[in-house]
């Protein structure tokens, strides 16, 4: 009887260790990336956020109807020039794949975007405040984490108004287009010479 109990204890320890080793504690849901090859090199990926349904927060001083309702934006004078927005981010198939922040400030000449895609990593881009022709803003990809860490390139932002006329349609979408350019890393020393 004692031997059976001891065998059971050992089996229990082995089963617990095996289960922790074999089964991932975290398994992020993945959507297939929709990436196209750009004509002049690099890859292109499009994201968008539907306005107003994907808007999580609009943080700016003096808003009569805060979003989300009940939010208390700080009244500190130092922060009076900052406007920060949070969104859900969708891919080209209109599926939510991440979240993002968009920040502009009166004392800064850029608009900063941070995209956080849980299964892939984060992407940080700084865009020029002044829009180009067609309402397009463009800026460099400043930094990235995990999948985006080795990538450079640029990102554009554009407001596309909805013209479908459907009753439940969003008023428009903020369209983001990331052009990734990877850094060439030689595989062996011969290539370096």
């Amino acid at each position: 009887m004692l031997k059976t109990f001891i065998i059971g204890v050992l089996l229990g320890i082995a089963a617990a260790a095996g289960a922790l080793y074999a089964y991932p504690a975290v398994d992020q849901h993945r959507e297939a990336s929709i990436v196209a090859v750009a004509p002049n090199g690099g890859n292109v990926e499009s994201f968008h956020t539907n306005i107003p349904m994907d808007r999580i927060m609009v943080g700016a001083p003096g808003r009569k109807q805060p979003l989300p309702p009940g939010m208390q934006w700080p009244t500190d004078e130092e922060l009076s020039g900052i406007r920060m927005e949070l969104f859900k981010v969708r891919n080209a198939r209109d599926v939510v794949i991440g979240v993002a922040s968009r920040t502009s400030a009166s004392d800064s000449d850029v608009i900063d975007w941070v995209l956080h895609l849980p299964a892939r990593g984060s992407l940080y881009a700084s865009m020029q405040k002044q829009a180009l022709e067609g309402g397009l803003r463009r800026g460099g990809i400043t930094a990235g984490s995990r999948e985006f860490a080795p990538l450079k390139g640029f990102m554009t932002e554009r407001w596309v108004a909805d013209t479908s006329g459907e009753q439940d349609a969003p008023s428009g979408r903020l369209q983001l287009r990331a052009n990734y350019i990877g850094e060439y890393v030689p595989e062996d020393e011969e290539e370096l010479e």
Partner: protein, 232 residues
């Protein structure tokens, strides 16, 4: 039949022993000394409240321990973002004065290995400091020491609460010394490429509601050329 029951009881005891060893193993994921605390370089210290109800906005899937704040904020219920949370908060300088606004994105990491004492969260900070510029901080945080020393004792207590003083560095990478990667965006911080460490100071925790009283701190190493800037 008796032998089968004894075997099953033995297995349950074995599983319990394994879990207890995992939680009480003193050699696993102890709180390390921050590499920035022993470095000669100047550091920028940024503080924030780490309690959801004291932040400007906190949102997650709506079913987690920490409840979204304010209550009517859009929740992250879609499958790809269900294991993610977002927090917008006021950032304070070392003197406790308002220094800027920050947003933190956190997602549970697939690199989590409980066997190795790693309960990892991939997180990214975006911080805007008026008059100074913006920072992007990417890191992996290890919550295992916090779970072991705060969350588990709270769950075990009859009141489902923990009170005390807990201070630990959360950052576990991607830097080789367990540091975060910090990149400057706009303003005087543009072009900055340095390291940082995030720490958590907890005083009260509820097994039902999460952190009740806690502060976070970000230490960012400043290269000498940036440290000489009076605005910092």
């Amino acid at each position: 039949m008796r032998y089968l029951v004894v075997l099953l009881v033995g297995m349950l005891v074995g599983i319990s022993m394994f879990v207890a060893a995992l939680i009480y193993n003193p050699f696993m994921a102890d709180r390390r000394l921050s590499p920035l605390s022993v470095a000669d370089a100047e550091v920028m210290s940024l503080g924030y409240t780490n309690v959801a109800s004291e932040s400007i906005v906190f949102t997650n899937d709506g079913e987690s321990r920490q409840r979204p704040h304010p209550a009517k904020v859009l929740q992250l219920w879609e499958a790809p973002i269900r294991l993610t949370s977002m927090m917008t908060t006021v950032i304070q300088d070392a003197r406790g004065q308002t220094a800027g606004i920050g947003v933190k994105f956190s997602s549970r990491s697939e690199k989590t290995r409980l066997l190795n004492g790693e309960a990892l969260v991939d997180s990214a900070w975006y911080i805007y400091l008026p008059g100074r510029g913006s920072l992007f901080i990417e890191q992996s945080e290890n919550f295992w020491p916090f779970i072991r020393e705060v969350a588990f004792p709270a769950w075990r207590s009859s009141a489902n609460k923990w009170k005390g003083t807990w201070l630990g560095d959360m950052t576990a990478g991607p830097g080789a010394l367990g540091t975060a990667r910090v990149t400057g965006g706009a303003g005087n911080l543009r072009g900055l490429d340095t390291t940082g460490v995030e720490s958590l100071s907890a005083r009260a925790y509820s097994a039902d509601d999460g952190l009740v009283s806690a502060e976070g701190r970000l230490l960012v190493e400043l290269p000498s050329i940036v440290a000489d800037d009076d605005s910092l």
